[in-house]
C-alpha cells in the first residue's frame, strides 16, 4: 500500500484524522433543526468538505457528493503515493470502490421532484449522478485508468471487499496497481429516515451529543451514520520497489465469509470464519496480530457477537489483543467504513500506537476484551493489524496489514 487519501468526519488528511483519534476527539454532532425538523434522530458524523474548492465547476455539476468525496480522496492517495501516471501503463491500473448507497442525495432529489413536488421535471443527469458505479468511473476518467473499473456494494463491508478483491487482482497478475477504497454520502433526509425506521441509530447522548456512539458499552444504543471516503493505492510490491515508492504497509490478508441466518442479525460463525481466513491467507497466527480495529458499530447485536467471534478465533490470545472501535469517533461510514478503518489500522501500525474506543465507561458484561478505554496506547511490538467489516446481508470481510 503506497498511498492513502481521506475525506472524513475527523478531517481530510490521514495525519489530522489519526491525531484526533488518538486524542479521543469525536466528529459526531447534532444536526440543526433547520436540516429537517421531521428527523427524530439527528446525531450524525458529517464531513467538512466543499467540492467547489477541489473540483472544477464544469465537472462538479455531474457529481453527487459521493463521487466528489471519492475523487478528492483518490487525488490525495495518488499524490501520497507519488504516482506519476504519465510513466505508467494505464491499462494495467484499475479502480475498485465500495459504496452502499451510491448517489443518495441525487436519488432523494429525484424522488422529491416526482412525489413531493408532483413534477415531471426530474434533473436530466439524475441517473448518472445516482448510479452506484459513478464514483469508481469518475476516478477512472479523471486519471485515465483503463484497467478493470469495479464497484462493490455489500453494505457496510463494501470497501473492505473492494480492497481485498483489488489486492487479489494484483496478486493474480491482472494489474499492477489498483486505486481501492470506498465512499459514502448518506446524510440525506430520505436516507436518514430509512435508517431511523430500522431502529438501529443511536439515541442522542443529551449531556454530550459527540459521545452518542458507545461501542461495547452497556449503555450503547446504536450506530451513528457518517460520511466520507477513504482511498488507497495498492501496488504490486515489485512495481512499487522499481519506482522507489514509499510503502506504508503490506496488505497481507483478506478473509471473506457470509452469514446466512438472517438479513441483519450477525452470526459468530460468519465473522469468525472471515477472521480465520484472513489470518490463514496472511500466514499469521492470532498472537501475531497486535491490534484489531473492530467493526464495533455500537448496536446491541454487533458488539457482543463480534466479541464472541474474536474470542472464538483468537482463543487464549483474545484477551491480550487490543481491540478498539473508532466508530465511536468517526461514526459509521457504511460503504466507506472498511477502507477508513483499514487506513486507521495501518496508521496505528506505522506509528506503533493504537487509538482508543471512546465513550466506553461501563462495558457490557458480554463485551470482555481489551477495548483500549484509557486512551491511545503505544505498542512498540506492533507488526500486524486487523480490520473487521461486517454487513447487513451477511458479507463479512476482514483485512490484515503487515509492516512492509
Amino acid at each position: 500500500m503506497t498511498g492513502m487519501g481521506l475525506i472524513s468526519p475527523l478531517g481530510n488528511d490521514p495525519a489530522t484524522v489519526f491525531g484526533r483519534l488518538l486524542a479521543g476527539e469525536s466528529g459526531i454532532r447534532r444536526l440543526p433543526e433547520s436540516f429537517n425538523a421531521r428527523l427524530s434522530s439527528r446525531i450524525v458524523a458529517p464531513a467538512a468538505f466543499g467540492g467547489a474548492q477541489r473540483i472544477s465547476t464544469a465537472r462538479l455539476r455531474m457529481l453527487d457528493r459521493v463521487s466528489q468525496f471519492a475523487l478528492a480522496a483518490a487525488a490525495e492517495a495518488l499524490a501520497d503515493a507519488q504516482f506519476a501516471l504519465e510513466n505508467e501503463d494505464a491499462s494495467r491500473i484499475g479502480v475498485s470502490i465500495g459504496t452502499g448507497m451510491g448517489g443518495a442525495q441525487s436519488t432523494d432529489d429525484g424522488y422529491q421532484t416526482v412525489y413531493e413536488q408532483q413534477s415531471d421535471r426530474v434533473a436530466p443527469l439524475t441517473v448518472i449522478l445516482a448510479m452506484n458505479n459513478a464514483p469508481a468511473s469518475w476516478i477512472g476518467i479523471e486519471h485515465g485508468l483503463r484497467g478493470p473499473n469495479l464497484t462493490y456494494s455489500t453494505a457496510c463491508s463494501s470497501s473492505a471487499v473492494a480492497i481485498g478483491e483489488a489486492a487479489r487482482r494484483i496478486a493474480h497478475g491482472d494489474v499492477q496497481v489498483m486505486i481501492a477504497g470506498g465512499t459514502e454520502a448518506p446524510l440525506t433526509f430520505g436516507t436518514l429516515k430509512a435508517w431511523e425506521a430500522l431502529k438501529t441509530l443511536a439515541r442522542e447522548d443529551v449531556a454530550n451529543p459527540a459521545a452518542s456512539c458507545k461501542p461495547f458499552a452497556r449503555d450503547r444504543t446504536g450506530l451513528v451514520l457518517g460520511e466520507g471516503a477513504a482511498i488507497l493505492v495498492l501496488e504490486d510490491a515489485e512495481h512499487a520497489r522499481l519506482r522507489g515508492a514509499p510503502v506504508h504497509a503490506e496488505v497481507a490478508g483478506y478473509g471473506l465469509a457470509t452469514d446466512t441466518e438472517h438479513i441483519t442479525r450477525p452470526s459468530v460463525a460468519g465473522q469468525a470464519q472471515a477472521m480465520a481466513l484472513a489470518l490463514s491467507s496472511a500466514g499469521l497466527a492470532p498472537s501475531d496480530v497486535g491490534y484489531i480495529n473492530a467493526h464495533g458499530t455500537g448496536t446491541q447485536a454487533n458488539d457482543a457477537v463480534e466479541t464472541a467471534a474474536i474470542k472464538e478465533v483468537f482463543g487464549d490470545a483474545a484477551g491480550g489483543c487490543p481491540v478498539s472501535s473508532t466508530k465511536s469517533m468517526h461514526g459509521h461510514l457504511l460503504g466507506a467504513a472498511g477502507a477508513l478503518e483499514f487506513i486507521i489500522a495501518i496508521l496505528a501500525l506505522q506509528g506503533r500506537i493504537v487509538p482508543p474506543t471512546a465513550h466506553l465507561r461501563v462495558r457490557d458484561p458480554e463485551c470482555d476484551l481489551d477495548y483500549v478505554t484509557e486512551g491511545a496506547r503505544q505498542i512498540e511490538t506492533l507488526t500486524a493489524v486487523m480490520s473487521n467489516s461486517f454487513a447487513f446481508g451477511g458479507t463479512n470481510a476482514v483485512l490484515i496489514a503487515r509492516r512492509a
Binding site: T57, A58, R61, P124, L125
Partner: protein, 95 residues
C-alpha cells in the same frame, strides 16, 4: 425590471455558469465542443431552456433537423421551437 433574456443571452448565461466559461468567449460562432458541451451537456442545457421559454424539446436529438455545432446553431434551433410552439419567434416567456 430588466427584459427577459433572449435565447442567445440565456445560453450565454447558463453555459458561462455551468461550464465555467468566460462569457466573452461565447460569441455566436463559438463552437460548443470547445467548451465541453457534449451530448449530455446539451441535454442539461435544453432542460433549462424548456423552463425558461416554456417550450417542450422533442424527444429526437436537437441535431436531427440540422447540425448543431455553434452557439448560433443552438439559438436557431431554440427559436424554431419557440416559433412552432408559441406561434412567433418571440423570446418573451409565455405566462
Amino acid at each position: 425590471m430588466s427584459p427577459a433574456p433572449t435565447p442567445f443571452e440565456f445560453l450565454r448565461l447558463i453555459i458561462a455558469r455551468d461550464f465555467d466559461v468566460d462569457p466573452q468567449l461565447l460569441q455566436p460562432d463559438a463552437r460548443l465542443e470547445d467548451f465541453a458541451v457534449d451530448s449530455l451537456g446539451l441535454i442539461e442545457i435544453m432542460f433549462a431552456v424548456e423552463e425558461q421559454f416554456h417550450i417542450t424539446v422533442p424527444p429526437e436529438p436537437p441535431d436531427a433537423r440540422a447540425p448543431i455545432n455553434t452557439l448560433n446553431d443552438l439559438v436557431r434551433y431554440i427559436e424554431g421551437l419557440i416559433a412552432e410552439q408559441h406561434g412567433a419567434a418571440s423570446a418573451d416567456p409565455v405566462p
